[in-house]
Amino acid sequence: MNSFSTANPSTLKKHDLLSLAVLALILLVALPLLLDIFRLNLVGKYLSYAFVAVGLVLCWGMGGILSLGQGVFFGLGGYGMAMFLKLEASTPEATAIQSTPGIPDFMDWNQLTELPAFWVPFQSFPLTLAAIVVVPGLFAALIGYAMFSRRVSGVYFAIITQAIAAILTVLVIGQQGVTGGVNGITDLRTLLGWDIRTDFARYVFYYVNGVLLLGALVGALYLQRSRLGRLLTAIRVSEDRVRFSGYSVAHLKTFVFCIAAVLSSIGGALFTLQVGFMSPTLIGIVPSIEMVIFCAVGGRLSVFGAVYGTLLVSGLKMSLSESFPELWLFGLGAVFIAVVMFLPYGLAGVYRGLSERLSARFLAGRVSGSAAARIADPS
């Protein structure tokens, strides 16, 4: 009897597939044709932030868990990839002039004489890839479960995640012998012997980033349409009712927080590959908040909105911060306040409103059109 009851909601709907196809066309065909490699590389950098924004749609938009520390997870992935690339660039031959050849240059400057133990796994590419997924996942599970099982939520959760971002930044800057300090990890050259600084490599990374992002979107859409997605909405609306319906709210929240963390980390790794360095300025409080703004501008509930919001705000930042470096942060803050006050569903909400109005008009036109046709031709 009900058209929707028989269909499983977790299967992607037609308009999801259409939105995916449009985005794929824009990212994989239109932009590479329209932009030179310098600009395309910039877009690729922004798209690595989009992973964070998609994670925030699931975690904050749907589940109501506002994390102001997603830069932490972006950094874990970014640093993981940077450590691997740095080790590859620090062969004994390339670092022959150091007092200890074979270790990264900044370690030598800081009088380290051997590689710290936690760097050793990053000599292996498979282990590095595993670490990019497992380390932020475990870290998010740990802090997430510790807080959610104690019913820490809302503003308190946001403040704690922000504190973690601040602590991590201080730690990275302070321990410059093992982290590269405030300069970050720079001078990255090759990936498995293949030069990452060429135009060709940049095209390859752009496409890898684009395809992985589309994959992440498919996964995120599946999660949104699943029972878990509706449960996240339910938790945001009435957490106690979910708990007293037999669910472990702490488990559900921890899971989605981990998913958001892993997505951010993948974005961070792709950032390092495309930009060629990683530094503490990319993982602290300000970038963490910027990522929330990307998500809010795009629309908290729409994974596609998150991608467009990221591109738009990052693009604006790029052009405006060049002309008005002092005013840019105020502008960003104003955008955030305006979106929260006037467009709670962001660009995605505006788009939906417009398309509903247009399709209503189109349908009305068609009905009156066919009525007119019937009058003209009664047979």
Binding site: N8, R227, L231, A234, R241, F244, S245, Y247, S248
Partner: protein, 250 residues
Amino acid sequence: MSVSTNTACVLAIEGLTVSFDGFRAVDELNLYLDEREIHVIIGPNGAGKTTVLDLICGKTQASAGSIRFRNRELRRLKEHHIVRAGVGRKFQNPSIYDELTVFENLELSFPRGRTVLGSLFFKRDAAVLDRVQEIAAAVFLDELLHSEASLLSHGQKQWLEIGMLLIQDPQLLMLDEPVAGMSVAERVKTAELLNRITADRSVLVVEHDMGFVEDIADRVTVLHQGRKLAEGSMASVQADPRVIDVYLGH
């Protein structure tokens, strides 16, 4: 811990005490619930009625005493394990998922796919659809399955929450003021509904509406300042001078 002699009890509460900063909200309470019994707790404001429900469902931790449900101690269990053991709780203010449809509200309450992975791979099959349809009809909402829950009237929201509990088929159903804010017609329908659904479960109700209590109660417990003042049939309780003095008399 003493073992109840009354093993036929669905729920046996003994010596239950909770104090908040020295204030004893519930004090040495004993309460027993039989199979298929509708037991109503009444009493003046602040008597500890809602706190008793909070203690049973795990929302509040007791300071002393025991709560045994089918001879299983509930006091150390987490809330969702108490629910899975078969105890459902309706809150005083209708607590439903406003942004979801009536269908989705009921479906999320369907007792399957309650783990992270279970919910990720949950399939909406015929058993789910039939059950949602059946429960929606029982709580008078079968015409409104596709409406967003926020659009329901206050009484309909109360029914929806009762439906969300029914779909879990709890052995013990706890209702906190189920007819508060309902019209007379809605109240009659709710009494009918409760009498129908109690055929195969026990129900513990907190209620102020004396007419409604008279309609549904098998047994009534009067609470006053966290202690049991009287217990028995509605008629015997109403005739009790102590009850008239602290609660019914004014």
